[in-house]
Symmetry: C2
Subunit: 422 residues, 2 copies
């Protein structure tokens, strides 16, 4: 394992994609039992070769410290025995999930006797472009294999040595299980490979970016291959005048503080004017006691202590930290309009005991998920009972919300006749 | 109605899209009965104002003749009383179809008591970019309204006067039914409006191009908004060595000749070598008797009369005319490889009585539809029993195959709790 910049892969993204396509064709016809056995091999191999992974990770960490990376970033990059064991366990959890491939989504026999079945098939070659966390390497590879797809992984340059070792281990495990190692490939970490991946039309079937707003914007504006946007979550909680304020307090605190760095945490609280006098001082002090910095509009500044004045930038920001923007609104309509202007279509929550208010909120907001009297933090494939996910789609095409195994497939119509002509 | 080039619309695509968004929000909350009443109004208005439509169409035709447009193109542009009545009838047929909006796609109550429902909602604002046929204007508008979406229509410049009158009539009918006229808007016909539509991220939810390969390639490479590719169909019929040759002959003739100008007609015939000696001369002469020009590989040239030698260009071409490329293959595997190389993922057919051959063909080809002992011509929303369609998607994301009403929607997860937190 060389330290410093990783060498280029022996060939370019195009050649890798061609080999991935061949591997994908083999995987598409592979029965579930073989895929599940491969996942078990992959998990065991990670456990057995943990030391090798940690050595590569130590080299990445050394470079990152030399490059003055922040402690938060270093923490995302860092692997430990526990984190490697968690990666292996995540692969084992996929074994228990149903195989989406072959599922008949709908089917019927037409008047003329033609039998039409719409059947799930793999997408083919999936490109994943992601930032520091190396666990995405194993998670994405496992989801792709289980759903019969080949994965072209483009991780961050800072994690490249870790990723190279991970992918080598996973690909070797695939081969031990009788599947093509080319089904999991790491793309070179130099800058041009992202663009190569994003423009490989006809070779790459879809690219899924996992990371911050900047990465996603770059991918969407560069790509000519289809993209599934994920993850940017400027999520709101609206506390209606008909809310149970004890419930509202618990939901707001949970949505903001239970894990502030993730996309389904709340960033803005909207409070109906009717209850602002009572609720704003109370929620501000509870949040502040939990270490949250409150940014508020003039009304919130007036009603509560230690509130920083909020600017438009605060309404637009996905803090991903212990900060929250708070605004008093005159009505549910104003809350819905605020969300339409500043939301990212991820998750919007209402706390209310009014059925008509709930109905108007659900009809009015346009998001992957709408939470009624529940924390925004529930938008998650595992919480929804779908098992592992590769991200939360915030776009409207193909899949919206948690991207689990069925969302990594497409369908084909298989039509059976007996010499039918039109 | 001015003759010659149509004037620019009073404002640009961006402003039109903003108004379309407002209209879309109203439409999303409109119950089926109101949408169906609007479709009836739209249909009646076309019937009543047929004369006005024909006058505008005559002006377009005059310009087109002056510009030396081919007779085939003129025919696509031309409206008649019958064609206007057919447009109106197509709108009326939508009334009988189920409303996809509000359909609960899946739902469950989680262990913790949270109720999760995945519900169909409209996409929002749909851009349609299309070529000469003015009937697309009414068809697309009707499908969008029924599915609760606003339509931004960018038709061809040559049909612009016809389209302006059609859209004015349809939007007025919408308003008579109490719906916002901005839900159906025609975009200016100057060149820049296509790019404006394709890059209106955040304003336009999806663009669907309807037209030839050149249009689709342009749209895909220019767009930063999501695109659903439609329609390019380089469809193959593979006649296996285990085929019933009487059935094969009927299917090939139907797939090629019943309507050569559409995307689900066959363009290439692949014949297994074992039966080539018998089948190739026979099918060539039957096709030639039906007016088809046969382009063949050297083996086909040897076996049949009056065959033009085929080049790689022939395997790649979607003729859309009474031409067919014919190749003798050594095996089913070679047929599948030919299709993988030259197919466009639309419809691929096998004629065979061998269950194992059929299984290998279905598993091996990667297309929106696979026909077993049936003509390629059956890939069609109406034939599949789905009702009207806006095109055939040949991409893997979101929708593959006929794009009917459900494919013009997305979903949202509506999650109901009672104060649930994580």
């Amino acid at each position: 394992m060389t330290l410093g910049a990783a060498p280029d892969p022996p060939d370019g993204v195009r050649e890798q994609a061609l080999r991935a396509r061949t591997a994908a064709r083999a995987l598409a016809a592979t029965p579930r039992a073989v895929k599940d056995a491969a996942l078990a091999e992959m998990a065991d191999a990670l456990d057995k070769q943990a030391r090798e992974i940690l050595e590569a990770n130590a080299a990445d960490l050394l470079n990152a410290e030399g490059a003055d990376m922040s402690e938060a970033m270093l923490d995302r990059l860092r692997l430990t025995d526990e984190r490697i064991a968690a990666m292996a366990d995540a692969l084992r959890e996929l074994i228990g999930l149903p195989d989406p491939v072959g599922e008949v989504v709908r089917g019927s026999t037409l008047l003329n006797g033609l039998q039409v079945r719409q059947v799930r098939v793999p997408l083919g070659v999936i490109g994943i472009v992601y930032e520091a966390r190396p666990n995405v390497t194993a998670d994405a590879a496992g989801l792709c294999i289980k759903s019969g797809n080949a994965a072209l992984l483009r991780g961050s340059a800072s994690a490249h040595q870790t990723n190279r070792v991970l992918v080598a281990i996973l690909a070797t495990a695939l081969e031990s299980a009788g599947l093509p190692g080319d089904a999991i490939q790491l793309v070179g970490a130099h800058r041009s490979t992202v663009a190569d991946l994003l423009t490989a039309r006809g070779l790459v079937d879809v690219v899924i970016p996992r990371g911050g707003a900047g990465l996603i914007e770059h991918v969407v504006s560069t790509a000519s291959v289809p993209v599934i946007e994920t993850g940017v979550g400027n999520c709101h909680v609206y506390v209606d005048d008909a809310a149970n304020l004890v419930m509202a307090e618990a939901i707001v605190v949970n949505a903001k503080t239970s894990r502030p760095s993730v996309c389904n945490s709340a960033e803005t609280l909207l409070v109906h004017r009717q209850i602002a006098e009572e609720f704003v001082p109370r929620i501000a002090s509870v949040l502040q006691a939990a270490g949250v910095t409150v940014h508020g509009d003039p009304e919130v500044v007036r009603l509560a202590s230690d509130v920083l004045p909020a600017s438009e930038q605060d309404w637009a920001t996905e803090y991903l930290s212990l900060d929250i923007a708070v605004r008093v609104v005159d009505s549910l309509v104003e809350a819905v309009e605020h969300i339409a202007r500043w939301g990212t279509g991820h998750t919007e929550a209402i706390v209310s005991d009014s059925a008509s208010a709930i109905g108007r909120f659900v009809a009015g907001v346009d998001a992957a998920a709408v939470m009624i009297n529940a924390s925004t933090r529930f938008t998650d494939g595992s919480e929804f009972g779908f098992g592992a996910e590769i991200g939360i789609s915030t776009q409207k095409l193909h899949a919206r919300g948690p991207l689990g195994l069925p969302e990594l497939t497409t369908t084909t119509y298989v039509v059976t006749g007996a010499g039918h002509i039109r």
